[in-house]
Amino acid sequence: MAVNLDMNVMVVDDYKTMLRIIENLLRQLGFKNIVQATDGTTALQGLKDGDFGLVISDWNMVPVTGLQLLQQVRADAKLQKLPFIMVTAESKTENVVAAKQAGVNNYIVKPFNAETLKQKISAVLGAF
């Protein structure tokens, strides 16, 4: 099934510069509806209130980390199956294992490029 490029995508990062980079790369890949959140609490509320097809989140945020956001998403009946990709500079084995155990769908290490972003989205949502 083709990826719906009109789906809402939530991008979460406390670095506004990074939000802008990811949004632009997503637009270059064809995604049209991108919502930004600068913290996990705002993101979770937005996800609960809206209809999203994908979350792309940083890990290293305060007060709610990306891992905690993922755990909260997986604990929510409405959101538990929502595709969730972690994009982070945290690249130690224990980070990847913890994210996987929490139910992340894929893991991108920073710095990354548009091709890697596309590959990982394709791995989660299907080719586009």
């Binding site: 510069t17 980079i21 632009n24 270059q28 290293n60 980390t65 500079a89 084995t93 294992v97 710095p111």
Partner: protein, 170 residues
């Protein structure tokens, strides 16, 4: 009258007191408060300025990229495609700002630890001679920030770790 063994203990204590007094003088001569106020605190400001400057520069670069992207609609498809590819690579390169910011944050945290240790040392050596038993504040265990390039795994290695993690019971 003191017993011989008590005299030995008394002499040892006096020696120890002299050593401590000398150590205090030597540490005081290093002027640790100068390190704190003349070096560590200004370094925080310098590093904050680096982060701010790179952030401003990155945002200006992205402003221009978005302006160029808007202009691609008036170009031929080939030119628009080439421009879009170049702009994508510029956005990719802008990743540096986030990574740089995180690395600088690690340095700032290291400076804070040094600052904390100096404070504890000053208190210990001061007139009040407070014993510092407070532990250094720890960060969340999994927040390590970006690794140095020589230690950082590649995306392929991350993919392998990720694949291996699939076999772990959650």
């Amino acid at each position: 009258m003191l017993q011989p063994s008590a005299k030995i203990v008394q002499a040892s204590i006096e020696d120890l007191a002299k050593i401590i007094a000398r150590a205090r003088r030597e540490v005081a001569a290093l002027k640790p408060d100068n390190i704190k106020f003349d070096h560590i605190m200004p370094s925080h400001d310098e590093l904050d300025a680096v982060v701010l400057a790179t952030e401003e520069a990155t945002n200006k670069i992205m402003d221009e990229c978005e302006a160029i992207t808007a202009l691609t609609t008036s170009c031929s498809p080939e030119t628009a495609q080439a421009l879009t590819a170049s702009i994508t690579r510029i956005f990719e390169a802008c990743n540096f700002q986030d990574i740089t910011g995180q690395r600088i944050t690690k340095v700032v945290n290291a400076l804070k630890q040094i600052d904390y240790k100096i404070d504890a040392m000053l208190r210990a050596l001061g007139e009040e001679a407070m014993a510092s038993s407070a532990s250094v504040p720890s960060t969340t265990s999994l927040l390590n920030g970006p690794q140095l390039p020589k230690h950082a795994p590649t995306q392929a290695e991350i993919d392998q770790m990720f694949g291996e993690a699939c076999g772990i019971e959650s």
